[in-house]
């Protein structure tokens, strides 16, 4: 055992090394385990964007970026290890990428003064910046997603008296939209049926038989992992109209629809960022990253939904760094400055166009009170013949009148339980 300990100490020493001036972005990726198919493109996109910044612009504001990748396998305990091993290197912002790791890091990172950006996942009520000073979940969260789906359906026709079924992963994540959908059902007069699917979701016959019997007009899905592929397949099997089947953004990648083949055509999914590779930035990535042999992955994921999401996360982080640099007038920023930068972040149409990502996401701004942004969500649809997702609606408002009270209630309960003084 002693031998091992010395090797370990040695390793730790060597890993620590001399610190150069750089901007460290840990990437808690999951390229292995049950959800690897979703984790690989995200991690690739996140890393490739920073590589692009280094290669093309020499970093952000002249300071090179460094992505510290740590494999979590979507496992909370490995996430703890990853957090502890990367935070000492001056990590600026964490993308925990799993509900479990996010919850687990919220108090820790807050105590350490490091920001967390849980983009479209994690604790929804973290949008309340008064309670969650170091946690950001802009541009959209699960409740925005639920409301966005309902808004989209209402734009297609009146929902009164219609039946909406929610098929969800029976976990904290899957249960997120229930309260929002219930409130909205009281407001708009649709019937809500809840259909939980137990982890992992390999077998969903009962659930889809129930849907077939009860004939809901619309099905909304909060699924994850193998559950998505099986659900899309089963929906196709019972000939549910794919046009009326809407997934949350974690149920809307190529992985989820490809196994079902042509029958998945018309399936819809929410999103908060652009899809496809029809943006100028991809030419730069091809030139500076892929052709230079510096791509994080095999390079075959570029332009997929989850790759774009990783890229979008990296873009938002880089923009927050720029904001922080201009606020504090210092180029080599600290985690605390990064937090300020994220809080003052403003994404506009011009900014995105300047980055080669015109219309890639909604324009929004973050404030001290609101860490969640305006909650603009768009809708995408799958074209099985062309094997592409396409955006079929604008990034539009969700019903904050319903969501804001829920956010306040949940965050205040958290604040009371943990004796947190409201900031701002």
């Amino acid at each position: 055992m002693k031998m091992k300990l010395t090797t370990m100490a040695l390793t730790a020493l060597m890993a620590a090394g001399p610190a150069m001036a750089d901007l460290v972005f840990p990437s808690l990726s999951y390229r292995t385990g049950p959800y690897a198919a979703g984790g690989i493109p995200f991690a690739d996109g996140y890393a490739d964007y920073f590589t692009l910044l280094n290669e093309r612009d020499g970093g952000i504001g002249g300071i090179p970026t460094r992505v510290l990748e740590c494999e979590t396998g979507y496992n909370t305990e490995k996430g703890v290890e990853c957090y502890e091993s990367t935070k000492a290197e001056g990590a600026l912002v964490y993308q925990p990428l799993s509900t479990g790791i996010t919850y687990q890091l919220i108090p820790k990172a807050t105590a350490d003064g490091i920001a967390i950006h849980s983009m479209g996942y994690g604790r929804t009520s973290a949008a309340n910046g008064k309670v969650f000073s170091n946690v950001f979940n802009y541009p959209a969260n699960y409740w925005n997603g639920a409301s966005g789906a309902i808004n989209y359906l209402m734009s297609q026709g009146d929902l009164t008296g219609k039946k909406v079924a929610l098929v969800y992963h029976n976990s904290a994540y899957g249960k997120e939209p229930i309260r929002t959908l219930e409130e909205l059902s009281a407001k708009h007069g649709y019937d809500l049926t809840l259909i939980p699917v137990d982890h992992p979701g390999q077998e969903q016959k009962s659930q889809w038989l129930q849907i077939r019997r009860e004939k809901p007009d619309f099905v909304i899905m909060y699924g994850w992992g193998v559950m998505n592929q099986v659900a899309v397949q089963e929906a196709a099997n019972i000939r549910f109209n794919m046009e009326n089947f809407i997934g949350i953004w974690w149920s809307g990648s190529e992985n989820d629809v490809l196994p079902a083949g042509d029958k998945a055509n018309g399936y819809k999914a929410l999103t908060f960022h652009g899809v496809g590779n029809d943006f100028p930035v991809f030419a730069d990535i091809q030139k500076h990253v892929v052709d230079a042999g510096k791509a994080a992955g095999a390079g075959d994921q570029i332009g997929t939904v989850l790759y774009n999401r990783g890229l979008y996360a990296a873009m938002l982080a880089a923009e927050a760094v720029k904001t922080a640099q201009s606020i504090h007038g210092e180029m080599d920023i600290t985690p605390a400055m990064m937090r300020d930068g994220m809080e003052a972040l403003e994404i506009t149409e011009e900014k995105m166009a300047g980055l080669g990502l015109p219309g890639f996401g909604p324009s929004f701004s973050v404030s001290c009170e609101n860490h969640g942004g305006p909650g603009l969500v768009g809708m995408t649809q799958w074209d099985a013949a062309a094997k592409t997702w396409s955006l079929i609606s604008d990034f539009s408002e969700s019903d904050m009148d319903v969501i804001q009270p829920l956010i306040d209630a949940d965050s205040e309960a958290y604040a009371a339980e943990n004796n947190i003084e409201a900031g701002c």
């Binding site: 390229r31 292995t32 385990g33 049950p34 690897a36 198919a37 690989i40 029976n170 809840l194 259909i195 939980p196 699917v197 137990d198 982890h199 992992p200 390999q202 077998e203 016959k205 009962s206 038989l209 129930q210 077939r212 019997r213 992992g225 193998v226 592929q229 099986v230 397949q233 196709a236 099997n237 019972i238 000939r239 992985n255 490809l258 196994p259 083949g261 029958k263 042999g293 095999a298 075959d300």
Partner: protein, 328 residues
Amino acid sequence: MPEQLVFAMEVFLNGLMAGVLYALVALGFVLIFKASGIFNYAQGVMALFSALTLVGIMEGQVPFSHIINAVFGTEIHHFGWHVPALLAILITMAVMVLFAWIVQRYIFRHLVGQEPIILFMATIGLAYFLEGVGDLMWGSEIKKLDVGLPQGINDWIDLTTYNIFDYGFFIDNLDIVATVIAALLVAALVIFSQYSKEGRAMRAVADDHQAALSVGVSLNFIWIMVWSVAGFVALVAGIMWGTKSGVQFSLSLIALKALPVLMLGGFTSIPGAIVGGLIIGVGEKLFEFAIGPMVGGATENWFAYVLALIFLVFRPQGLFGEKIIERV
């Protein structure tokens, strides 16, 4: 006929079909346990591995391409050919036989005569190993598996039942195919073990290792054979489940669906696996249908185990297991 009853019938039929799929996985466990007393935790991973191999061969993927590219800086992924499904299945079977030989030669030959729990542990090590190797060989993205099996609602049943009950039943074509294949597989296994020389030897080994050894049965050969057959069963299960969800890591979790089946049917009985699978399939689906909505749904996972537990309290060796005779 009241509506609920018609629905229950539909659920019942689908439960039977799901049960067949569970039984397919359980069958692999039973074969190995019967012949060698090993509770093979790796059966689920074997299903994953065989399905991965099948897809890899069909698509002409280069094994270990990820690591080769990482080490040598090359960019190879595909051989550029497509192998027809049937040929690919045969090649995969050959791979599973090779796997069986390796397992027997390098692991279980050294563990003959150990306690069951230690053999069980070895299969856990094997499961880890195989999972890692599978990922390294073929990558961890989701792969579409299409060996030409039909999928989707069966129109004939839909129409016929609609004419009778005014409500068309949903039966998945894939499930029907799975049932036929499972029936053929079980029939083949029964014929093989009853009438062929190797099959009789296998049963002899299952009854008594030493007695079989003394009349000249090669234990080594039998065990390799049993692992090969289990590998083949895993491949069939992998194809069935993989067609539905794409081939991915979660395929290895189907083993968890097979455990209550095993427990209910008995670890040592092939008919037990089938009957157990049917009971579990029907039981959990009907419970979810009738009681599920009252308690909030998603009951299937635990109900299967509770059902098996209730059966076991009355028959501790499972429905068809060998009677446990205890002597001091």
